[in-house]
Each structure stands twice: as C-alpha cells, then as structure tokens.
Symmetry: C2
Subunit: 217 residues, 2 copies
C-alpha cells in the first residue's frame, strides 16, 4: 500500500503517524521541531527534522517514493500548510491530504493542490451530534445518498415476534440484514427468527425509513 509521510506532529499528526504504523504501513514523520519528532521516533520507520516550506529541505526527504503525504499542521500554521501543500503538488505527490482549519482554508488548500481536506474538529463535532441526536442508532454508515445502514435497538413492540410477523420490508421499507445478539452477529436472518430483548438490528433503507424504525425503539 506504499509509504506515507506525515508533516506536522501535533496531536492530529501524531495520531495519524502512530495509527498508520499500527496498521502495518511504512511511515516517515516530519516536524520542524526536534522534540516533536522525538515523540514518535521509536515507533515510526523514519523521522526528519525539517521546515516543510523549504524546498531544499523537501528535496532531501525522498518524498518521491511516497504514495501519500498528510499535511497535518493546525490552525496556527495555515499559511504553512498552504505553502507546503503547493510545494508537494509541484513535486507530483500522487495523493496529498491536508488539514483545514476552516471552510476558506479548505478551499484554498484544494485550490493549491490538496486532493482531500480533513477538518478534525468540524467532522468529529458533526459525528458526535449525530450520535447524540439519534441515540437508538448505535452505528451508521451511508451506503449511498439515499441508503443508510444503521444498527438500532429492537423496538419494544417487536420483542418476542418473528421476522415474518414483523414484516419490516413491507411495513417500514427497511431490510433487516443482521441481528446482533449477545456477543454475536447473525448475518442471515430466518423468517421464523424471534427477536429477543437486547437484540440489536442492522437495517438498510432510506434515511427517513431507517430513522422511523429507530424512533420506535
């Protein structure tokens, strides 16, 4: 899957670098401050102490063999991340992911060559809010713009009933693709399977239909 470089070893950058290593990837960690580089030195494959806006320093880092570079500086270094992103794009790095501090910063980063932007505070805030607003939705992924896969608690009124009796597809427009019971996931749900208290249902359907089932719980 190639080599990764992470530039900027604040909390976000360190989390990216160390988690990549944990997933078996090769990682070069870069920061202009020695003490930041030292925080990850023992875990990553290589560290470098360099100013990422200095073209000569970038030349020494061997970035040509990188499949992906993460520009991880935060709000305090917005111009730096813009300049670094631009220099990396000029060097033909195949995939550049840059951290954006806000909407405008994100637009500029994309304009100077970031392939993707990420805003940790914004995205985690949105994620937390969705979990808080829909507490019976335990997990959720958007399969496409009109289909969600969600895990919900079993609505009270379905406890003890069989899948055929409940007839989710016809009554609510969702498919139950798996039941999580105790520590197990049971992927093929038989028609005569009866739901028990504590069962979690994995359901697929349009967002509104899925939320309606979740609100029954």
């Amino acid at each position: 899957s190639g080599e990764f470089a992470v530039i900027g070893l604040g909390q976000f950058g360190r989390a990216v670098a160390l988690s990549l290593v944990r997933e078996g990837a090769a990682v070069l960690a870069i920061d202009q401050l020695e003490e930041r580089a030292q925080l990850v030195e023992s875990e990553v494959d290589a560290v470098a102490c360099a100013d990422a806006t200095d073209e000569r320093a970038l030349n020494e880092l061997g970035l040509e063999r990188m499949s992906c570079v993460v520009v991880a500086m935060g709000a305090r270094a917005r111009e730096t991340s813009i300049l670094t992103t631009s220099l990396l794009r000029q060097r033909g790095i195949p995939r550049i992911i840059s951290r954006a501090a806000n909407e405008l910063h994100a637009r500029v980063l994309l304009a100077v060559g970031a392939h993707e932007v990420i805003n940790p505070e914004l995205q985690m805030g949105q994620r937390l809010a969705r979990n808080l607003a829909h507490p019976t939705i335990l997990e959720q992924i958007a399969l496409d713009e009109n289909t969600n896969l969600v895990e919900v608690a079993t609505p009270e009124q379905f406890i003890g009933k069989s899948m055929n009796e409940i007839d989710m597809k016809r009554r609510y427009g969702v498919s139950v693709i798996a039941i999580r019971r105790g520590g197990q996931v049971l992927p093929q749900v038989a028609g005569d399977e009866r739901l028990a208290r504590g069962d979690r249902l994995l359901i697929v359907g349009q967002p509104a239909s899925v939320r309606r089932v979740a609100s029954l719980a």
Copy 2:
C-alpha cells in the same frame, strides 16, 4: 430526545451545536465571549454569554432541564473544562461529554465526573490512518470486538462469478450481506447472483478474514 447544552463555541463546539440543531434537537449554546455566541445565535434555540466556571452564572442557565451537556473547550482551556465538568456533575446533569486535549486530561475529566470524553484530533487521526492503510475498505464498523462489517471493492478474480461459485463463507469465513451496484444497495443476495465489475461488497466477519478479502481487491 431532550435538550442539549454546548459550552465553548470554538470550531468543535459550534459544529456540535449546529449539527444538533440540523438533526432536530433543542440546543442552548454557551460561551463567555459575546462574538462566539453570536456566530450561532440565529441557528440555535438559545444562547448565553457566561463564564461556565462561575457557579452563580451556571444557576441562571436552567441547566436542570438538560438531558446532556457537551463541554467543548479545547487545549487552551484545560483547567476550565475540568472545573466546568466538576460543577456540572455536582448539579446532577445526567450526561456530560467533555472534550479532552490528551490522555492525562481525559483521565482527570473522567475522575471529576465526565460520563464520556472525546478527543477530536486523536480520533480523526486514527480514523484517517485506518482509511489510508486499508483503501479497499470503503467503510467499516465494528459490530463487536471480533466482528467487522466492511464495504470492499469486488476482487478481480470474482468478477463474473456467482455467489454460490465464490462460496465466501466457506473459503474466507465472511458473509456477504449486501451488494452495492451503481446507485443501489441490494440487501438479499441470491446464490445465483453474479458479481459485476464495479460492485462493492458488504461483508461481515472477523477482522482478519475481512481484511484478507479486502486485500484480494
């Protein structure tokens, strides 16, 4: 689902407050700075300009009717978030979610009464790393400690073959619970269904089994 209060309207706090409103929840947004409160005033149900470490100010906010309070201050205000969390716990707020700047801060927040802690930079860093390290895994949720649900690209060698011929369960130990094809998700996969180029498979199984299938793609 109750009322929410968000204290600290930096980027994370504002994202939580505004996303909660978008999800239909009632939100009270609090910040000691007038201009921060004004950024969300038109969207939320109520704003308050107050110092959250001031007990008298907290008394005026009507926090008793809140089902959940998010303490959203960041690294620059660690003592503030600790004190605020402690005061909220003393007032019997049923659910307090506090933002932690690091591991030690998280432990202290839990010790003084936070029910849950969240660290946006750390968690998004880990999430990004997992997506980068496993690019053929397009989406992933952990159903329990030993079961993952992931969406993967169809391995080249399976294109044109039927589900019965591929026999995922026996050969790889994973269940295919749905196919995403074009803009559609097809949840009940028949045995004679043939996989086409561009199909994405939703598979359930142990992490290692699921990764093995993903690596074939």
